[in-house]
Symmetry: C3
Amino acid sequence: MTAQTLHLTSHQRFQCLAITEQVRDFVRSQAGLDGAVVVSGQHTTTAVIINEMEERLLVDLEQWLEAIAPSAGPWKHNDLELRSNIPADEPRNAHAHLQALLLGNQVVVNVKNAELVLGTYQDVILVELDGPRPRQVSLQLIASSTCPKT
Amino acid sequence: MTAQTLHLTSHQRFQCLAITEQVRDFVRSQAGLDGAVVVSGQHTTTAVIINEMEERLLVDLEQWLEAIAPSAGPWKHNDLELRSNIPADEPRNAHAHLQALLLGNQVVVNVKNAELVLGTYQDVILVELDGPRPRQVSLQLIASSTCPKT
Amino acid sequence: MTAQTLHLTSHQRFQCLAITEQVRDFVRSQAGLDGAVVVSGQHTTTAVIINEMEERLLVDLEQWLEAIAPSAGPWKHNDLELRSNIPADEPRNAHAHLQALLLGNQVVVNVKNAELVLGTYQDVILVELDGPRPRQVSLQLIASSTCPKT
């Protein structure tokens, strides 16, 4: 299998979930692989980042994002009565879309001999920006040019 | 063909152009492909993002970017008389460079059986930050490890 | 060889190091390759971006990042006395983590016939956000679907 979907559940409005181990396990199942793995959030109010899982830094991150794109900002996307065809449970989450765009929602991690090529302090992190919710992350292996020449 | 260049034209200074269908058509032309497609803007004042094409959200995005990196900010890049070798029609567009760096200028979309792996509300979007202009986006298919073992 | 590690040294706290030529040389060593190259910083306080190496723009970038995530901000990550197991030389660099997350720490550059697919003004740039330091950047080639059908 060269693809896998991670199913995760966030429990807070803002939450950082380390998924490095799940990505590593997936990659290790491909003995000898050289290439990369694409880790891609399947939502518009999540982010996928690589950084340090230091708990005080993650608080800084939450507060910084709230300052840059406040949840109570004057966002037109949140005027639900002016939009058409929206579900009854549509959230007011413009800030989460904007924060997701700032952080990005995918990373590519290089793979050498079935191991992730990451620095000491680097973790792969799913950032929940509009939780709590069930969330999905798509993993896809990508191969280097190792085909035999014909 | 494993590569293609999209040629698009923006008609406003800021504009979001959905290119999901063009990327999808390209991927579908590769029957059975598993892997990913790289979607990469070929300019320094565009962005390529994945998010929701909700019209009021796109207005929020424009206003948010203008607040974070204002077009009339005190940018040194805009002092054209202090730079050398610039064309006669060089624009004052430092804000557009900075906004492009905030959003990012490429995405990788996973592909399963020649279909894009995207969530319900996810569109691939070229964001024009210094239009109107003709623009190019490079598409490149990338294969998973499906070579026969020798 | 489908992978390489670039070793670089920054000499300033904030510094933009163009690495386009190193990436290009690496790609050219793979005669005829179609696909992409992943360029990935191995640290949590660097960024890897594609944009223009215009010197005044780079000053704008530095000042803009300092305004958005100030080095002297009230970051919890910088209260070293409240964290456990930190090295004696741990820097106060929360701003650099946040700036790195804003810019992103990797790019994928498409490759056609062993040449980088980049626009006129696009350079691949390692952005040092907490220098001076030695730094590493991981390069990984990724192939398009060129395997012979069996």
